[in-house]
């Protein structure tokens, strides 16, 4: 174990996957928030024939060239999906599914035509162990460029994602920002398929976003958190695949991603299953306790209410007893409002 973390070869690759995880996790947030989470899945499958085509045309296995092919074909796929969307009534997910699987099979046909693919099929599952220094440099460059684009267009991205109509009424071009988001997604998908593989790509784009959404409602925080979750999972997944021989990288990254998500689904402070259940119980108890107050607030009578309870409320200054009538004090009204709205239950 100690040896592994001193091994410069491992450290190099771990650094690469760390950066990769950060940029993919954070960029994936945008498509997830736009409810187009599976676009990444489709793009990664569509990129596969691009890789093969680039190899056929240029006859080289340089990652830059292969990824260029992937980018071109991904854009073609995205254009086709948009075309179908514009001219037909076919739903987005159906066209996504068709493009995904048919492009992948075109890639397979091409791979078979040129006789087995010469190791190009590592793109299907991904392989971190054979990452070269040049590829790590490429990942760092793409990551920096993507993050720079996000920082420059931050306000545009934010507004577009949450309210497209409002964004347009402000006079901005919706097509341009959509194009920008597609570029970002294609870029991160293309640099990631080498490591995590075509099939499991969607998990690295979606899971960090969902995980960090459980923790915060502020876009900038969620963005950074998704990056961190992506980086953490990619790093740990790579480490595990180095430690256990025969363990594929992509699946082990997905396993860590899912474990982190599951953990936070249970334990997240506000939106987690446990804290939600606890809050619900608290709320139920409070409703039970203050039910008489709510009754007085709603109906202005004390029918069927035990007077000992009422006296207790009077002693707590929630009610006052005037002219033979129980009346709510301001404090009592505040309590009733809180119970009805389900707020500040623990104060």
């Amino acid at each position: 174990m100690n040896n592994l973390f001193l091994d410069p070869y491992f450290l190099k690759i771990a650094f690469g996957t760390l950066i990769l995880g950060f940029v993919t996790g954070s960029i994936g947030l945008f498509s997830t928030l736009r409810k187009q989470a599976l676009v990444g899945d489709a793009l990664s499958h569509a990129a596969f024939p691009g890789v093969i085509l680039a190899f056929i045309i240029f006859g080289t296995k340089d990652l830059e060239i292969l990824l260029l092919g992937a980018i071109v074909i991904s854009f073609l796929a995205m254009g086709l999906i948009n075309l179908i969307n514009k001219y037909t009534t076919i739903k987005f997910d159906a066209s996504l599914a068709l493009i995904l699987s048919s492009f992948f099979s075109i890639g397979n046909v091409l791979m078979l035509i040129m006789d087995g693919g010469h190791g190009l099929n590592r793109f299907i599952f991904g392989e971190a162990a054979t990452m070269l220094q040049r590829e790590i440099n490429l990942i760092v460059i793409v990551a920096l460029v993507s993050l720079l684009i996000v920082i420059l267009f931050w306000r545009h991205l934010k507004l577009y994602i949450f309210d497209q109509e409002f964004y347009q009424t402000l006079g901005f071009n919706k097509g341009l920002i959509k194009f920008l988001l597609t570029i970002l997604t294609v870029l991160v998908v293309v640099i990631s398929i080498r490591t995590i593989g075509v099939v499991l790509m969607s998990a690295l784009l979606i899971a960090p976003a969902i995980t960090s959404r459980l923790l915060s409602n502020k876009l900038s925080i969620v963005f950074i958190l998704s990056g961190l979750f992506g980086a953490l999972s990619a790093f740990m997944g790579t480490t595990i695949s180095f430690l256990i021989s025969g363990m594929p990288t992509g699946p082990s990254i997905v396993l860590i991603l899912s474990a982190v998500l599951l953990l936070l689904l249970l334990l997240a402070p506000k939106n987690g299953i446990i804290s939600k259940a606890v809050n619900q119980r608290r709320h139920k108890k409070l409703i039970h306790k203050y039910h008489p107050l709510v009754h007085i607030y709603e109906f202005n009578n004390i029918r069927n209410i035990d007077t000992t309870i009422l006296d207790e409320f009077v002693s707590l200054n929630y009610l006052k007893f005037e002219d033979n009538e129980y009346l709510l004090t301001n404090r009592g009204i505040a309590i009733v409002n809180n119970v009805l709205r389900g707020e500040n239950l623990w104060t």
Binding site: K35, D41, A94, L98, S101, F104, S105, V254
Partner: protein
């Protein structure tokens, strides 16, 4: 040419296509992608219990895993406000990763390698022959896929009304007294069953094309549910046959070529059909041209008796008033002259009574249609 392989390709395509129609109208197209991947975990887990690749328990395991996928996705959607596609995109990679990890750590010696998982090997499906009374009566895979096809057809035939109502209006189905959930899960069980039989022959990614492709191709030109199913079946038949022939000619994976053919058929219909993109574009430009012509005539008619007619109707200045390029206007002038809708006197464009009548009739017709 192996007629057994062709028959397998056709039966698998048909059973995928008819069940796919319901997935598409229920907006669950991406669920096929998820299920077709996760059935692998079912197969692997069942194999760990019953170590026999030919055991029917593997199919049972796969169907159960398909249902678990749907269930887990729905739990995430309903309880945690996670959108449908995001939930799908989390659940299936997890289950699929588990399968891949189990295979690569424990079962690397058996025939479940990644290529056959993704792409299938239709070529070898014909090798295992079913023997009845000592004679070969065809490949086993053919009978399995035929059985699945019959189950799918019967299910759709018997529960057509229920499927239709549940797909288009689940709440109405509830009111009528049958449970949308039961229909939903039986449909999903059939999808898993179809996926797992297709899995062996065409692989997990390509089955998505077989399920979704014919359905959405049919939906490009028909709106009736029954006709959609029939057309989807016809298209699937064509895709499988053409794909098979092309694969034999080029000598590559049959399943991949069939999936590619599915996309080609879809694109052909998308572009060249009567209501396809090309016709739509032609129609749009025709409409635009006609509308511009009417606007032009209307302009002439409006200014026929106004004080500024010398300015507005002058052939040298009219492009400024309509803000159109001169070439564009000249085309309309020529067209109007040919139809006898206008005459030119003293460089002024004077609309004739025929022209006034034409544009009035046109505008009146538009009003009537509204």
């Amino acid at each position: 040419m192996d007629i057994g392989v062709l028959l397998i390709a056709i039966t698998v395509s048909l059973s995928s296509a008819i069940i796919g129609v319901f997935l598409v109208i229920r907006k669950m197209a991406m669920m096929t992608d998820a299920i077709s991947h996760t059935v692998l975990l079912g197969i692997v887990l069942a194999f760990l219990i019953v170590p026999n690749l030919n055991s029917p328990f593997l199919i049972l395991g796969a169907v159960i895993m398909g249902l678990i996928t749907v269930f887990l996705t729905e739990v995430l959607i309903n309880n945690h406000k996670i959108s449908e596609d995001a939930a799908t995109g989390i659940v299936f990679p997890l289950l699929f990763s588990l399968a891949i990890i189990i295979i690569s750590l424990n079962l690397s010696h058996i025939h479940l390698d990644s290529d056959s998982v993704f792409l299938g090997q239709l070529e070898f499906a014909g090798i295992k022959q079913l023997k009845l009374f000592g004679t070969n009566i065809g490949p086993v895979s053919f009978y399995v896929s035929l059985l699945v096809l019959i189950i799918n057809v019967l299910f759709i035939k018997i529960f057509f009304k229920e499927l239709k109502i549940v797909s288009f209006d689940a709440n109405f189905a509830k009111v009528l007294g049958f449970s949308p959930i039961i229909i939903h899960y039986s449909l999903m069980a059939l999808v898993s069953l179809t996926a797992v039989t297709a899995f062996e022959t065409v692989g997990s990614i390509l089955v998505v094309a077989l399920m979704v492709g014919p359905a959405i191709t049919a939906m490009l030109f028909t709106k009736d549910l029954k006709m959609t199913i029939i057309w989807a079946a016809i298209i699937a038949l064509i895709n499988a046959s053409v794909g098979y022939l092309m694969a034999i000619i080029v000598d590559v994976s049959i399943a991949s070529v069939i999936a590619t053919q599915t996309l080609i058929t879809f694109l052909l219909v998308l572009f060249f059909h009567k209501r396809g993109i090309i016709n739509k574009l032609i129609q749009r430009s025709k409409q635009k041209e006609e509308f511009n012509f009417i606007v032009f005539l209307k302009h002439l008619a409006n200014h026929l008796n106004t004080d500024d007619r010398d300015e507005e109707l002058n052939i040298d200045y009219i492009h400024n008033h309509l803000n159109w390029p001169t070439k564009f206007i000249n085309r309309h002038i020529k067209k109007a002259q040919a139809l006898n809708y206008l005459k030119i006197s003293n460089k002024l464009l004077i609309i004739t009574s025929a022209g006034i009548k034409y544009q009035n009739d046109f505008l009146n017709n538009i009003n009537k249609e509204d």
